[in-house]
Protein backbone atom coordinates (compact mmCIF):
# COMPACT_ATOMS: atom_id res chain seq x y z
CA UNK A 1 0.00 0.00 0.00
CA UNK A 2 2.74 2.39 1.00
CA UNK A 3 4.68 1.46 -2.10
CA UNK A 4 1.73 2.30 -4.33
CA UNK A 5 1.37 5.72 -2.77
CA UNK A 6 5.02 6.57 -3.39
CA UNK A 7 4.73 5.44 -6.98
CA UNK A 8 1.64 7.59 -7.51
CA UNK A 9 3.47 10.68 -6.27
CA UNK A 10 6.46 10.02 -8.52
CA UNK A 11 4.10 9.66 -11.44
CA UNK A 12 2.40 12.94 -10.68
CA UNK A 13 5.70 14.78 -10.35
CA UNK A 14 7.19 13.45 -13.56
CA UNK A 15 4.06 14.19 -15.57
CA UNK A 16 3.49 17.71 -14.30
CA UNK A 17 7.01 18.58 -15.34
CA UNK A 18 5.82 18.57 -18.94
CA UNK A 19 2.64 20.56 -19.08
CA UNK A 20 2.29 24.13 -17.92
CA UNK A 21 -1.25 23.62 -16.63
CA UNK A 22 -0.20 20.65 -14.53
CA UNK A 23 -1.95 18.18 -16.81
CA UNK A 24 -0.49 15.61 -19.16
CA UNK A 25 -1.03 17.58 -22.37
CA UNK A 26 1.62 19.78 -23.87
CA UNK A 27 0.76 21.86 -26.91
CA UNK A 28 1.93 24.79 -29.00
CA UNK A 29 0.23 26.98 -31.61
CA UNK A 30 2.30 27.57 -34.74
CA UNK A 31 2.41 31.06 -36.22
CA UNK A 32 1.19 31.70 -39.74
CA UNK A 33 3.79 33.40 -41.89
CA UNK A 34 2.82 34.93 -45.20
CA UNK A 35 5.39 35.16 -47.96
CA UNK A 36 4.81 37.72 -50.65
CA UNK A 37 5.50 36.11 -54.00
CA UNK A 38 6.48 37.84 -57.23
CA UNK A 39 3.58 38.79 -59.46
CA UNK A 40 3.65 36.91 -62.74
CA UNK A 41 1.83 34.53 -64.99
CA UNK A 42 1.09 31.29 -63.15
CA UNK A 43 1.33 32.74 -59.64
CA UNK A 44 -2.13 31.55 -58.62
CA UNK A 45 -1.60 28.03 -59.99
CA UNK A 46 1.78 27.87 -58.26
CA UNK A 47 0.41 29.05 -54.92
CA UNK A 48 -2.56 26.69 -55.01
CA UNK A 49 -0.43 23.63 -55.73
CA UNK A 50 2.76 24.29 -53.78
CA UNK A 51 1.27 25.69 -50.60
CA UNK A 52 -0.91 22.64 -50.05
CA UNK A 53 2.21 20.87 -48.73
CA UNK A 54 4.67 23.59 -47.72
CA UNK A 55 5.03 27.35 -47.16
CA UNK A 56 6.16 29.39 -50.15
CA UNK A 57 9.27 30.67 -48.39
CA UNK A 58 10.77 27.34 -49.56
CA UNK A 59 10.83 28.94 -53.03
CA UNK A 60 12.07 32.38 -51.99
CA UNK A 61 14.88 30.79 -49.96
CA UNK A 62 16.48 29.01 -52.94
CA UNK A 63 19.41 30.33 -54.95
CA UNK A 64 18.51 31.43 -58.47
CA UNK A 65 17.89 28.05 -60.05
CA UNK A 66 18.06 27.51 -63.81
CA UNK A 67 14.86 26.62 -65.75
CA UNK A 68 16.06 22.98 -65.83
CA UNK A 69 16.60 22.99 -62.08
CA UNK A 70 13.14 24.44 -61.45
CA UNK A 71 11.55 21.88 -63.79
CA UNK A 72 13.51 19.19 -61.96
CA UNK A 73 12.29 20.51 -58.63
CA UNK A 74 8.64 20.45 -59.75
CA UNK A 75 9.12 16.90 -61.06
CA UNK A 76 10.69 15.86 -57.77
CA UNK A 77 7.63 17.16 -55.93
CA UNK A 78 5.37 15.09 -58.21
CA UNK A 79 7.34 11.88 -58.65
CA UNK A 80 9.29 11.59 -55.42
CA UNK A 81 6.99 13.34 -52.95
CA UNK A 82 3.78 12.29 -54.66
CA UNK A 83 2.30 15.77 -55.07
CA UNK A 84 -0.92 15.58 -57.09
CA UNK A 85 -0.06 18.17 -59.76
CA UNK A 86 -1.40 17.85 -63.32
CA UNK A 87 0.95 17.98 -66.33
CA UNK A 88 -0.56 21.29 -67.39
CA UNK A 89 -0.16 22.85 -63.94
CA UNK A 90 3.39 21.50 -63.61
CA UNK A 91 4.41 23.30 -66.82
CA UNK A 92 2.82 26.55 -65.63
CA UNK A 93 4.50 26.31 -62.23
CA UNK A 94 7.95 25.57 -63.68
CA UNK A 95 7.60 28.51 -66.04
CA UNK A 96 6.50 30.87 -63.24
CA UNK A 97 9.43 29.78 -61.06
CA UNK A 98 12.01 30.05 -63.84
CA UNK A 99 10.78 33.52 -64.85
CA UNK A 100 10.51 34.93 -61.36
CA UNK A 101 13.10 32.99 -59.35
CA UNK A 102 15.65 32.09 -62.01
CA UNK A 103 18.89 33.69 -63.17
CA UNK A 104 18.40 37.30 -64.15
CA UNK A 105 15.02 37.64 -62.47
CA UNK A 106 14.76 40.82 -60.47
CA UNK A 107 12.54 39.45 -57.77
CA UNK A 108 14.46 36.27 -57.09
CA UNK A 109 15.74 36.25 -53.57
CA UNK A 110 19.33 35.48 -52.82
CA UNK A 111 19.61 32.99 -50.03
CA UNK A 112 19.96 34.10 -46.43
CA UNK A 113 23.41 32.65 -46.11
CA UNK A 114 26.33 33.61 -48.28
CA UNK A 115 29.93 32.63 -48.23
CA UNK A 116 31.33 34.48 -45.23
CA UNK A 117 34.40 35.59 -47.14
CA UNK A 118 32.60 36.99 -50.15
CA UNK A 119 29.94 38.74 -48.10
CA UNK A 120 32.43 40.31 -45.83
CA UNK A 121 34.62 41.41 -48.68
CA UNK A 122 31.62 43.40 -49.85
CA UNK A 123 31.11 44.95 -46.46
CA UNK A 124 34.62 45.84 -45.57
CA UNK A 125 36.28 46.52 -48.87
CA UNK A 126 34.27 49.65 -49.71
CA UNK A 127 37.00 51.50 -47.90
CA UNK A 128 39.81 49.59 -49.59
CA UNK A 129 38.29 50.10 -53.03
CA UNK A 130 37.74 53.78 -52.33
CA UNK A 131 41.43 54.10 -51.51
CA UNK A 132 42.36 52.22 -54.66
CA UNK A 133 40.17 54.05 -57.16
CA UNK A 134 39.04 57.32 -55.62
CA UNK A 135 41.42 58.56 -52.95
CA UNK A 136 43.95 59.99 -55.40
CA UNK A 137 41.49 62.84 -56.06
CA UNK A 138 39.04 62.44 -53.19
CA UNK A 139 41.32 61.91 -50.20
CA UNK A 140 39.42 62.54 -47.00
CA UNK A 141 36.25 63.10 -49.00
CA UNK A 142 37.59 66.19 -50.76
CA UNK A 143 37.95 66.98 -54.44
CA UNK A 144 41.32 68.21 -55.72
CA UNK A 145 39.97 69.29 -59.09
CA UNK A 146 36.69 70.94 -58.14
CA UNK A 147 36.78 71.56 -54.38
CA UNK A 148 33.16 72.71 -54.33
CA UNK A 149 32.13 69.21 -55.34
CA UNK A 150 33.43 67.34 -52.30
CA UNK A 151 32.02 64.02 -51.18
CA UNK A 152 30.63 65.39 -47.94
CA UNK A 153 26.90 65.21 -47.51
CA UNK A 154 26.18 68.88 -47.88
CA UNK A 155 27.99 69.10 -51.21
CA UNK A 156 26.60 65.79 -52.39
CA UNK A 157 23.06 66.82 -51.76
CA UNK A 158 23.61 70.22 -53.31
CA UNK A 159 24.65 68.36 -56.45
CA UNK A 160 21.72 65.94 -56.39
CA UNK A 161 23.73 62.95 -55.17
CA UNK A 162 21.53 61.50 -52.48
CA UNK A 163 21.60 57.73 -52.62
CA UNK A 164 24.22 55.07 -53.24
CA UNK A 165 22.70 54.53 -56.68
CA UNK A 166 23.51 58.13 -57.58
CA UNK A 167 27.15 57.58 -56.73
CA UNK A 168 27.27 54.39 -58.78
CA UNK A 169 25.70 56.31 -61.66
CA UNK A 170 28.46 58.94 -61.42
CA UNK A 171 31.14 56.25 -61.45
CA UNK A 172 29.67 54.90 -64.66
CA UNK A 173 28.96 58.29 -66.28
CA UNK A 174 31.07 60.93 -64.57
CA UNK A 175 31.02 64.64 -65.25
CA UNK A 176 33.98 66.46 -66.82
CA UNK A 177 37.28 66.01 -65.05
CA UNK A 178 36.64 62.54 -63.60
CA UNK A 179 37.67 59.26 -65.19
CA UNK A 180 34.97 56.75 -66.04
CA UNK A 181 34.77 53.52 -64.00
CA UNK A 182 32.79 50.95 -65.98
CA UNK A 183 31.47 47.62 -64.74
CA UNK A 184 34.51 45.85 -66.18
CA UNK A 185 36.99 47.69 -64.00
CA UNK A 186 34.69 48.13 -60.97
CA UNK A 187 32.00 45.44 -60.79
CA UNK A 188 28.54 46.35 -59.58
CA UNK A 189 29.04 44.97 -56.07
CA UNK A 190 32.27 46.83 -55.61
CA UNK A 191 30.77 50.04 -56.97
CA UNK A 192 27.91 49.72 -54.48
CA UNK A 193 30.37 49.08 -51.68
CA UNK A 194 32.31 52.22 -52.60
CA UNK A 195 29.09 54.25 -52.72
CA UNK A 196 28.01 52.95 -49.33
CA UNK A 197 31.40 53.71 -47.89
CA UNK A 198 31.24 57.28 -49.20
CA UNK A 199 27.82 57.84 -47.67
CA UNK A 200 28.91 56.28 -44.42
CA UNK A 201 32.29 58.00 -44.15
CA UNK A 202 31.64 61.56 -45.29
CA UNK A 203 28.77 62.96 -43.32
Amino acid sequence: MKKTAVFAILLAVSVTAYAKDGGTVRSIALPTVETKMADGEGKVVMAANCSSCHSLDYIVMQPKLSPDQWTGTVNKMRKVFGADISDADAAVIASYLASNYGPGSKTAAAAPGKDPASKVAMNVSGEASFKKYCAACHAGGGNIIRPEKSLHRKDREANGVKAAADIVRLLRNPGPGMPKFDAKSVPEEEAKAIAEYVIDAFK
Partner: protein, 398 residues
Protein backbone atom coordinates in the same frame (compact mmCIF):
# COMPACT_ATOMS: atom_id res chain seq x y z
CA UNK B 1 25.86 32.66 -39.72
CA UNK B 2 29.29 34.13 -39.81
CA UNK B 3 28.33 36.57 -42.48
CA UNK B 4 25.49 38.43 -40.90
CA UNK B 5 26.32 40.87 -38.13
CA UNK B 6 23.39 41.36 -35.81
CA UNK B 7 23.72 45.11 -35.96
CA UNK B 8 23.08 45.10 -39.69
CA UNK B 9 19.90 43.16 -39.41
CA UNK B 10 16.41 44.39 -39.76
CA UNK B 11 14.39 42.48 -37.28
CA UNK B 12 10.82 41.57 -37.78
CA UNK B 13 9.57 40.13 -34.60
CA UNK B 14 6.31 38.37 -34.31
CA UNK B 15 3.95 37.20 -31.67
CA UNK B 16 1.70 35.53 -34.18
CA UNK B 17 1.29 36.56 -37.76
CA UNK B 18 3.99 38.28 -39.70
CA UNK B 19 3.88 39.50 -43.28
CA UNK B 20 7.56 39.55 -43.57
CA UNK B 21 8.38 40.46 -47.12
CA UNK B 22 5.47 42.83 -47.45
CA UNK B 23 6.92 44.87 -44.62
CA UNK B 24 10.01 45.81 -46.57
CA UNK B 25 8.51 48.94 -48.05
CA UNK B 26 10.76 50.23 -50.83
CA UNK B 27 13.33 47.48 -50.75
CA UNK B 28 13.24 44.96 -53.55
CA UNK B 29 12.60 41.48 -52.24
CA UNK B 30 16.05 40.22 -53.14
CA UNK B 31 17.80 42.96 -51.23
CA UNK B 32 15.68 42.26 -48.21
CA UNK B 33 16.23 38.56 -48.24
CA UNK B 34 19.96 38.80 -48.89
CA UNK B 35 20.82 41.43 -46.33
CA UNK B 36 18.28 41.06 -43.61
CA UNK B 37 17.40 37.57 -42.47
CA UNK B 38 14.00 37.49 -40.90
CA UNK B 39 13.98 36.77 -37.20
CA UNK B 40 10.93 35.06 -35.87
CA UNK B 41 9.78 33.79 -32.49
CA UNK B 42 8.12 30.37 -32.48
CA UNK B 43 6.44 28.90 -29.40
CA UNK B 44 8.93 27.96 -26.65
CA UNK B 45 11.77 29.48 -28.72
CA UNK B 46 13.63 32.76 -28.77
CA UNK B 47 14.15 34.87 -31.93
CA UNK B 48 15.63 32.62 -34.60
CA UNK B 49 16.39 33.11 -38.28
CA UNK B 50 13.43 32.03 -40.39
CA UNK B 51 14.27 29.82 -43.35
CA UNK B 52 10.83 28.29 -43.82
CA UNK B 53 7.67 28.40 -41.77
CA UNK B 54 5.75 25.23 -42.73
CA UNK B 55 7.32 22.91 -41.88
CA UNK B 56 9.50 25.14 -39.71
CA UNK B 57 13.21 25.48 -40.38
CA UNK B 58 14.73 27.97 -37.95
CA UNK B 59 18.41 28.80 -37.64
CA UNK B 60 20.38 29.84 -34.55
CA UNK B 61 22.02 33.30 -34.73
CA UNK B 62 25.79 33.08 -34.33
CA UNK B 63 26.14 34.94 -31.05
CA UNK B 64 24.54 32.03 -29.16
CA UNK B 65 27.59 29.92 -30.01
CA UNK B 66 29.67 31.96 -27.58
CA UNK B 67 28.14 29.68 -24.96
CA UNK B 68 29.48 26.19 -24.36
CA UNK B 69 25.94 24.80 -24.19
CA UNK B 70 23.33 26.14 -26.59
CA UNK B 71 20.28 27.40 -24.68
CA UNK B 72 17.24 25.22 -25.42
CA UNK B 73 15.19 28.10 -26.72
CA UNK B 74 17.96 29.02 -29.17
CA UNK B 75 18.54 25.54 -30.62
CA UNK B 76 17.79 25.30 -34.35
CA UNK B 77 14.62 23.67 -35.66
CA UNK B 78 14.29 21.48 -38.72
CA UNK B 79 11.26 19.38 -39.71
CA UNK B 80 10.67 17.60 -43.01
CA UNK B 81 6.91 17.15 -43.28
CA UNK B 82 4.10 19.70 -43.22
CA UNK B 83 2.21 18.07 -40.38
CA UNK B 84 4.33 18.38 -37.28
CA UNK B 85 3.11 17.43 -33.81
CA UNK B 86 1.74 20.43 -31.94
CA UNK B 87 0.10 18.54 -29.11
CA UNK B 88 1.18 15.47 -27.16
CA UNK B 89 -0.75 13.91 -24.28
CA UNK B 90 1.59 11.88 -22.13
CA UNK B 91 -1.40 9.99 -20.76
CA UNK B 92 -1.80 8.35 -24.15
CA UNK B 93 1.62 8.75 -25.84
CA UNK B 94 3.45 5.45 -26.14
CA UNK B 95 6.76 4.44 -27.71
CA UNK B 96 6.11 1.12 -29.42
CA UNK B 97 9.02 -1.25 -29.95
CA UNK B 98 8.49 -4.25 -32.20
CA UNK B 99 9.15 -5.86 -35.56
CA UNK B 100 11.75 -8.61 -35.53
CA UNK B 101 11.68 -8.93 -31.72
CA UNK B 102 10.60 -11.53 -29.18
CA UNK B 103 7.88 -9.28 -27.84
CA UNK B 104 6.24 -5.95 -28.54
CA UNK B 105 6.64 -3.10 -26.03
CA UNK B 106 4.44 -0.09 -25.45
CA UNK B 107 6.45 2.24 -23.26
CA UNK B 108 5.02 5.28 -21.49
CA UNK B 109 7.19 8.24 -20.49
CA UNK B 110 7.26 6.88 -16.97
CA UNK B 111 8.41 3.50 -18.27
CA UNK B 112 11.25 5.27 -20.09
CA UNK B 113 12.19 7.19 -16.98
CA UNK B 114 11.89 4.41 -14.42
CA UNK B 115 12.54 1.09 -16.14
CA UNK B 116 15.86 1.98 -17.76
CA UNK B 117 19.10 3.39 -16.41
CA UNK B 118 19.31 7.13 -17.10
CA UNK B 119 22.38 8.13 -19.09
CA UNK B 120 23.63 11.61 -19.91
CA UNK B 121 26.25 13.21 -22.13
CA UNK B 122 26.83 16.39 -24.12
CA UNK B 123 26.71 16.09 -27.89
CA UNK B 124 26.76 18.38 -30.91
CA UNK B 125 23.56 18.22 -32.93
CA UNK B 126 24.14 19.31 -36.53
CA UNK B 127 21.96 19.22 -39.62
CA UNK B 128 23.48 17.42 -42.64
CA UNK B 129 22.94 20.58 -44.67
CA UNK B 130 24.51 23.03 -42.21
CA UNK B 131 26.49 25.52 -44.33
CA UNK B 132 24.70 24.54 -47.55
CA UNK B 133 24.39 28.18 -48.64
CA UNK B 134 28.20 28.38 -48.91
CA UNK B 135 28.39 25.75 -51.68
CA UNK B 136 29.66 26.95 -55.03
CA UNK B 137 28.01 26.23 -57.40
CA UNK B 138 24.91 26.70 -55.27
CA UNK B 139 22.63 23.75 -54.66
CA UNK B 140 18.88 23.65 -53.96
CA UNK B 141 17.69 22.81 -50.45
CA UNK B 142 17.49 24.50 -47.07
CA UNK B 143 19.85 27.47 -47.39
CA UNK B 144 21.48 27.24 -43.97
CA UNK B 145 24.35 29.39 -42.86
CA UNK B 146 26.30 27.94 -39.94
CA UNK B 147 23.41 27.98 -37.48
CA UNK B 148 21.90 24.53 -38.02
CA UNK B 149 23.90 23.21 -35.09
CA UNK B 150 24.10 23.36 -31.33
CA UNK B 151 25.72 21.75 -28.31
CA UNK B 152 23.34 20.14 -25.84
CA UNK B 153 23.44 17.86 -22.81
CA UNK B 154 21.05 15.00 -23.55
CA UNK B 155 19.62 12.55 -21.02
CA UNK B 156 17.53 9.45 -21.55
CA UNK B 157 17.62 5.68 -21.89
CA UNK B 158 20.13 3.67 -23.92
CA UNK B 159 18.54 2.37 -27.10
CA UNK B 160 20.33 -0.95 -26.59
CA UNK B 161 18.65 -1.38 -23.19
CA UNK B 162 15.23 -0.77 -24.75
CA UNK B 163 15.99 -3.20 -27.56
CA UNK B 164 17.22 -5.77 -25.03
CA UNK B 165 13.89 -5.58 -23.20
CA UNK B 166 12.08 -6.32 -26.48
CA UNK B 167 14.54 -9.06 -27.42
CA UNK B 168 16.14 -8.51 -30.84
CA UNK B 169 16.11 -11.67 -32.98
CA UNK B 170 19.53 -12.82 -34.21
CA UNK B 171 18.85 -12.33 -37.93
CA UNK B 172 18.09 -8.60 -37.55
CA UNK B 173 19.76 -6.11 -39.93
CA UNK B 174 18.51 -2.62 -39.14
CA UNK B 175 16.33 -0.65 -36.76
CA UNK B 176 13.78 1.84 -38.12
CA UNK B 177 12.59 4.97 -36.31
CA UNK B 178 9.36 6.85 -36.91
CA UNK B 179 8.02 9.96 -35.22
CA UNK B 180 4.69 11.74 -34.80
CA UNK B 181 5.19 14.02 -37.80
CA UNK B 182 2.96 13.07 -40.71
CA UNK B 183 2.95 13.61 -44.47
CA UNK B 184 0.85 16.55 -45.74
CA UNK B 185 -0.59 14.45 -48.60
CA UNK B 186 -1.32 10.71 -48.93
CA UNK B 187 1.52 9.88 -51.33
CA UNK B 188 4.26 11.85 -49.56
CA UNK B 189 6.71 9.40 -47.94
CA UNK B 190 6.63 9.40 -44.14
CA UNK B 191 9.86 10.43 -42.41
CA UNK B 192 11.42 7.14 -41.34
CA UNK B 193 15.14 6.65 -40.72
CA UNK B 194 17.14 3.50 -40.03
CA UNK B 195 20.40 2.64 -38.32
CA UNK B 196 22.46 -0.46 -39.03
CA UNK B 197 22.12 -2.98 -36.19
CA UNK B 198 25.63 -2.45 -34.81
CA UNK B 199 25.10 1.26 -34.49
CA UNK B 200 21.65 0.87 -32.96
CA UNK B 201 23.33 -1.28 -30.30
CA UNK B 202 26.13 1.22 -29.73
CA UNK B 203 26.59 2.02 -26.05
CA UNK B 204 25.89 5.72 -26.67
CA UNK B 205 22.83 5.65 -28.94
CA UNK B 206 20.05 7.09 -26.78
CA UNK B 207 16.34 7.72 -26.60
CA UNK B 208 16.48 11.15 -24.95
CA UNK B 209 13.70 12.78 -22.96
CA UNK B 210 15.73 15.70 -21.59
CA UNK B 211 17.81 18.48 -23.13
CA UNK B 212 20.00 20.51 -20.78
CA UNK B 213 18.12 19.08 -17.81
CA UNK B 214 14.64 19.97 -19.07
CA UNK B 215 12.00 18.03 -20.98
CA UNK B 216 12.45 18.37 -24.74
CA UNK B 217 10.83 21.38 -26.39
CA UNK B 218 7.96 20.59 -28.75
CA UNK B 219 9.85 21.87 -31.79
CA UNK B 220 12.92 19.85 -30.82
CA UNK B 221 11.06 16.56 -30.54
CA UNK B 222 8.97 16.35 -27.36
CA UNK B 223 8.49 13.97 -25.67
CA UNK B 224 11.44 11.79 -26.79
CA UNK B 225 13.91 11.72 -29.65
CA UNK B 226 16.69 9.51 -30.87
CA UNK B 227 20.24 10.72 -30.21
CA UNK B 228 23.00 9.29 -32.40
CA UNK B 229 26.03 11.20 -31.09
CA UNK B 230 28.76 11.88 -33.62
CA UNK B 231 26.36 11.33 -36.53
CA UNK B 232 24.42 13.96 -38.44
CA UNK B 233 21.05 14.88 -36.97
CA UNK B 234 18.99 13.43 -39.82
CA UNK B 235 19.01 10.22 -37.74
CA UNK B 236 17.95 11.94 -34.54
CA UNK B 237 14.23 11.27 -35.15
CA UNK B 238 12.03 13.68 -33.21
CA UNK B 239 8.79 12.98 -31.31
CA UNK B 240 9.70 9.33 -31.53
CA UNK B 241 6.72 6.96 -31.49
CA UNK B 242 7.79 3.76 -33.20
CA UNK B 243 10.92 1.62 -33.17
CA UNK B 244 10.85 -1.32 -35.57
CA UNK B 245 13.56 -3.96 -35.81
CA UNK B 246 14.00 -5.14 -39.42
CA UNK B 247 15.47 -8.34 -40.81
CA UNK B 248 16.20 -6.77 -44.20
CA UNK B 249 17.64 -3.50 -45.41
CA UNK B 250 15.10 -0.66 -45.43
CA UNK B 251 14.71 1.31 -48.66
CA UNK B 252 12.31 4.13 -47.78
CA UNK B 253 12.73 7.54 -49.41
CA UNK B 254 14.49 9.25 -46.52
CA UNK B 255 17.27 6.64 -46.58
CA UNK B 256 17.36 6.24 -50.35
CA UNK B 257 17.64 8.39 -52.43
CA UNK B 258 17.52 11.17 -49.78
CA UNK B 259 20.37 11.95 -47.36
CA UNK B 260 23.10 10.19 -49.28
CA UNK B 261 26.67 11.24 -49.96
CA UNK B 262 29.20 10.19 -52.62
CA UNK B 263 30.82 6.90 -51.63
CA UNK B 264 34.40 8.13 -51.21
CA UNK B 265 36.68 9.47 -48.51
CA UNK B 266 35.72 13.15 -48.91
CA UNK B 267 32.02 12.59 -49.64
CA UNK B 268 32.55 14.88 -52.60
CA UNK B 269 32.58 15.00 -56.40
CA UNK B 270 33.70 17.58 -58.98
CA UNK B 271 31.34 20.58 -58.90
CA UNK B 272 28.27 19.77 -60.98
CA UNK B 273 29.12 16.06 -61.32
CA UNK B 274 26.80 13.22 -60.38
CA UNK B 275 28.25 10.66 -57.94
CA UNK B 276 28.67 7.15 -59.38
CA UNK B 277 27.82 5.49 -56.08
CA UNK B 278 26.33 6.83 -52.86
CA UNK B 279 26.00 5.75 -49.24
CA UNK B 280 23.76 7.04 -46.45
CA UNK B 281 25.27 10.10 -44.76
CA UNK B 282 26.64 9.09 -41.34
CA UNK B 283 29.41 10.37 -39.08
CA UNK B 284 30.10 14.10 -38.89
CA UNK B 285 33.33 15.49 -40.27
CA UNK B 286 35.64 17.86 -38.39
CA UNK B 287 34.75 21.55 -38.17
CA UNK B 288 35.97 24.70 -36.50
CA UNK B 289 34.21 28.05 -36.49
CA UNK B 290 35.35 31.52 -35.51
CA UNK B 291 32.63 32.94 -33.29
CA UNK B 292 34.28 36.15 -32.12
CA UNK B 293 35.12 38.63 -33.50
CA UNK B 294 32.30 38.28 -35.99
CA UNK B 295 33.01 38.61 -39.68
CA UNK B 296 32.64 42.15 -40.93
CA UNK B 297 33.26 43.81 -37.59
CA UNK B 298 36.11 46.08 -36.59
CA UNK B 299 38.62 45.89 -33.74
CA UNK B 300 41.09 48.49 -32.47
CA UNK B 301 44.80 48.39 -33.23
CA UNK B 302 47.30 47.80 -30.45
CA UNK B 303 44.54 46.44 -28.26
CA UNK B 304 44.62 42.76 -27.29
CA UNK B 305 41.76 40.83 -28.87
CA UNK B 306 40.79 37.29 -28.06
CA UNK B 307 39.81 35.27 -31.11
CA UNK B 308 37.29 32.73 -29.84
CA UNK B 309 35.70 29.81 -31.56
CA UNK B 310 34.45 26.26 -31.34
CA UNK B 311 35.55 22.96 -32.84
CA UNK B 312 34.02 19.51 -33.01
CA UNK B 313 34.40 16.19 -34.77
CA UNK B 314 32.26 13.11 -35.23
CA UNK B 315 32.79 11.49 -31.86
CA UNK B 316 36.59 11.55 -31.76
CA UNK B 317 37.27 14.75 -29.87
CA UNK B 318 39.51 17.60 -30.96
CA UNK B 319 43.30 17.20 -30.86
CA UNK B 320 44.17 20.75 -31.80
CA UNK B 321 43.01 23.95 -33.45
CA UNK B 322 45.40 26.20 -35.33
CA UNK B 323 44.62 29.84 -35.99
CA UNK B 324 45.91 32.40 -38.47
CA UNK B 325 45.35 36.14 -38.35
CA UNK B 326 47.08 36.86 -41.67
CA UNK B 327 45.04 34.87 -44.15
CA UNK B 328 46.90 31.61 -43.64
CA UNK B 329 50.56 32.69 -43.90
CA UNK B 330 51.38 32.11 -40.23
CA UNK B 331 49.64 29.80 -37.79
CA UNK B 332 49.60 29.38 -34.04
CA UNK B 333 47.98 26.84 -31.77
CA UNK B 334 44.83 27.84 -29.91
CA UNK B 335 44.20 27.12 -26.24
CA UNK B 336 41.44 24.58 -25.79
CA UNK B 337 38.71 25.09 -23.19
CA UNK B 338 36.82 22.74 -20.91
CA UNK B 339 36.46 19.21 -22.30
CA UNK B 340 32.89 17.93 -22.04
CA UNK B 341 33.65 14.67 -23.81
CA UNK B 342 34.21 13.36 -27.29
CA UNK B 343 30.76 14.24 -28.63
CA UNK B 344 30.70 17.84 -27.36
CA UNK B 345 32.20 20.81 -29.06
CA UNK B 346 35.17 22.44 -27.40
CA UNK B 347 35.78 26.16 -27.12
CA UNK B 348 39.15 27.56 -28.16
CA UNK B 349 40.82 30.89 -27.63
CA UNK B 350 43.69 32.63 -29.38
CA UNK B 351 45.21 35.93 -28.22
CA UNK B 352 45.82 38.50 -30.93
CA UNK B 353 47.17 42.04 -30.93
CA UNK B 354 46.88 43.62 -34.37
CA UNK B 355 49.55 46.29 -34.83
CA UNK B 356 48.59 48.06 -38.02
CA UNK B 357 45.19 49.24 -39.28
CA UNK B 358 43.85 47.40 -42.30
CA UNK B 359 41.92 44.38 -43.36
CA UNK B 360 42.76 41.04 -41.74
CA UNK B 361 41.68 37.51 -42.62
CA UNK B 362 41.18 35.19 -39.66
CA UNK B 363 41.24 31.44 -40.17
CA UNK B 364 40.90 28.39 -37.93
CA UNK B 365 41.53 24.74 -38.68
CA UNK B 366 40.78 21.83 -36.37
CA UNK B 367 42.13 18.30 -36.33
CA UNK B 368 40.42 15.47 -34.46
CA UNK B 369 42.02 12.74 -32.39
CA UNK B 370 42.31 10.37 -35.38
CA UNK B 371 43.92 12.99 -37.61
CA UNK B 372 40.86 14.07 -39.61
CA UNK B 373 40.96 17.78 -40.43
CA UNK B 374 39.37 20.33 -42.74
CA UNK B 375 39.99 21.20 -46.39
CA UNK B 376 41.12 24.66 -47.50
CA UNK B 377 39.39 24.29 -50.84
CA UNK B 378 35.69 23.97 -51.43
CA UNK B 379 34.54 20.39 -51.50
CA UNK B 380 31.26 19.88 -53.35
CA UNK B 381 28.43 17.35 -53.48
CA UNK B 382 25.03 17.68 -55.15
CA UNK B 383 22.98 17.80 -51.93
CA UNK B 384 25.12 20.35 -50.11
CA UNK B 385 26.01 18.14 -47.15
CA UNK B 386 29.00 18.05 -44.78
CA UNK B 387 30.31 21.59 -45.37
CA UNK B 388 33.56 21.88 -43.43
CA UNK B 389 35.86 24.08 -45.48
CA UNK B 390 38.30 26.10 -43.35
CA UNK B 391 36.59 29.39 -42.63
CA UNK B 392 38.24 32.64 -43.65
CA UNK B 393 36.59 35.68 -42.16
CA UNK B 394 37.46 39.31 -42.71
CA UNK B 395 37.71 41.86 -39.94
CA UNK B 396 38.87 45.47 -40.04
CA UNK B 397 41.48 46.88 -37.69
CA UNK B 398 41.13 50.59 -37.05
Amino acid sequence: MADHGLTRRGFIRTAGVVTALAATGNFPIDLFAAEKPRLIRYPEKTDLILLTSRPPQLETPQHFFKELLTPNDALFVRWHLGNIPTEVDLATWRLTVGGNTDKKLELSMDDLRTRFEKVEYTAVIQCSGNGRSFFDPRVPGGQWGNGAMGNTTWAGARLKDILAMAGVKPDSAEVAFNGLDAPPAPKVPDFVKTLPMDHALDEDTMVAYEMNGKPLLMLNGFPARLIVPGWFATYWVKSLSEITVLSTEFSGFWMKPAYRIPDNACGCVAPGAKPAKTVPINRMNTRSLIISPEAGTAVRRNQPVEIMGIAFAGGYGIKDVIVSSDGGKNWGTAMLGKDLGKYSWIQWRYPWKPGKPGTYHLMAKATNSIGESQPFGRLWNPSGYMWNTVEKIEVAVR
